[in-house]
Amino acid sequence: MSTFLEQLPIVINSLNIGFLQTLKLFFVTLLGALPLGLLICFGSMSKIKPVKRLFQLLIWIVRGTPLMIQLLIIYYFPGLVLDNPIWGGAESGRFAASAVAFIINYACYFSEIYRGGIIAIPIGQDEAGLVLGMTKSDIFFKVKLLQMIKRILPPMSNEVLTLVKDTSLARIIALQEIIWAGQAFMKGSQGISGAIWPLFFTAIYYLICNGLLTVLFARLEKKLSYFR
């Protein structure tokens, strides 16, 4: 049995690789879900009734079922039911499937946060813009968007911190993220087995990452505190 000091670099190296995958999933999800959420938000606020209902249904289903199930269905459905395993068995395929599931899931949550931010803006802002001859899109992008962002920062920061931790769900389809990497040392990997402490170490990664995000959101809030 090797000593802790001998095991440490091996474990850290493994965790780093896992964490890279965690971060990759985190950023890809944000990149996709932030704009997609806005689209879903517009859809769910559409004046065209069937469009509105359709998006509300999507939001209800996605928010009403566990992300874990969504992951499993998105990963296995094409192969098992359609006989068309589009994702393949490689790590890259599992990542792509995870990214799709996370993006759709988080976009639905973001869309509701956006919607809350938009309906909280007084109607007078729209009316002032209209009377000044501004187009609807100008009113949204030049007048309401920043006010919306300011209002949604607190719930957004909540959701984003949750996303960091939720990425670990992807190990259900064997995505090799940080918890998967930490857990490997319990079963045995690279000559280390029965070690639970690497799992505790993973927690430190999450704490540091979410600490940084908390600071970032506080900065953003401060940056937007110049108006009310």
């Binding site: 802002q125 209209l130 009377v131 000044l132 001859g133 187009t135 007048v143 108006f227 009310r228």
Partner: protein
């Protein structure tokens, strides 16, 4: 020619008829005050003129040009409305400034966005922006706000906010500027400073329609006064006619001339 002709405007919300066959005309450089009790339809009338609502019946002409006809849906198209809207400006009771922009930016935003949609914008961008800024500074100065151009709305008093809102409306050079109870959200001291700038606009021959509960101001500044009651124009005349010799019992009652 009349600068504004409003003919047979009617408007209902669900089953309640809020405006009933409103007709009036306004001459260039005149000030029209609209008075009347709460719920008589004053705000709705201004909103119809500014296309925030669509009248169910009637027509609106500016300088003889038809800009709205309730029977013709083409006047409700967004682009058509936006073009015809240029004749009017509207100042709200609650200012509705854009909080994330400074006073100057509030005034410049709409002219900038509208200029950016013109064909020759790219090639003359610098000159166009410079002239928009020059204009904005001129209107803010006219409102007595030269030392406040860099302030955000939350850093301004209500009276200052309302004057920024007036400058913002003026910057689009409307033919007719409408005010919906511009001082109702202000305390008496701030009311005075806003009424003063509106009066100075009247002296500079701005055509205006002012909905107000400030009777002495209406009497002082107006060329015409309309008394609205229950969605109709009950009385229409010079300030002397309406305030001193009202024909209708209801007007007398509203003005407190009856001892009850």
């Amino acid at each position: 020619m009349h600068i504004l002709e409003v003919e047979h405007i009617s408007k209902s919300f669900e089953k309640t008829e809020v405006l009933k066959d409103i007709c009036f005309t306004l001459e260039k450089s005149q000030v029209l005050s609209i008075i009347g009790s709460s719920g008589s339809g004053k705000t709705t009338l201004l909103r119809c003129l500014n296309f925030l609502e669509h009248a169910d019946q009637g027509t609106i002409k500016v300088n003889g040009e038809l800009i709205f006809d309730a029977t013709d849906p083409s006047y409700r198209k967004e682009a058509v409305m936006r073009r015809n809207l240029r004749h009017f400006g509207l100042v709200f009771q609650s200012f509705n400034l854009f909080p994330q922009y400074t006073a100057l930016e509030n005034v410049m935003l709409a002219p900038k966005l509208s200029a950016a949609k013109e064909k020759d914008y790219k090639s003359h961008k610098k000159e166009i922006l410079a002239s928009i800024e020059e204009d904005a500074l001129k209107y803010l100065d006219m409102m007595g706000l030269s030392d406040r151009i860099g302030n955000y709305p939350h850093q301004l008093s209500g009276g200052q906010c309302q004057r920024v809102a007036i400058a913002r409306a003026l910057a689009l050079k409307p033919d007719i500027l409408c005010f919906d109870e511009p001082t109702s959200a202000l305390d008496p001291e701030l009311t005075g400073e806003v009424l003063k700038v509106i009066k100075s606009l009247a002296e500079q021959k701005m055509t205006m329609i002012i909905v107000t509960h400030e009777m002495s101001f209406a009497k002082d500044v107006s060329d015409q006064v309309i008394f609205m009651n229950d969605g109709i124009v009950l009385e229409h005349g010079t300030p002397t006619e309406v305030f001193e010799n009202p024909k209708e019992e209801r007007t007398k009652q509203f003005l407190g001339m009856l001892n009850t």
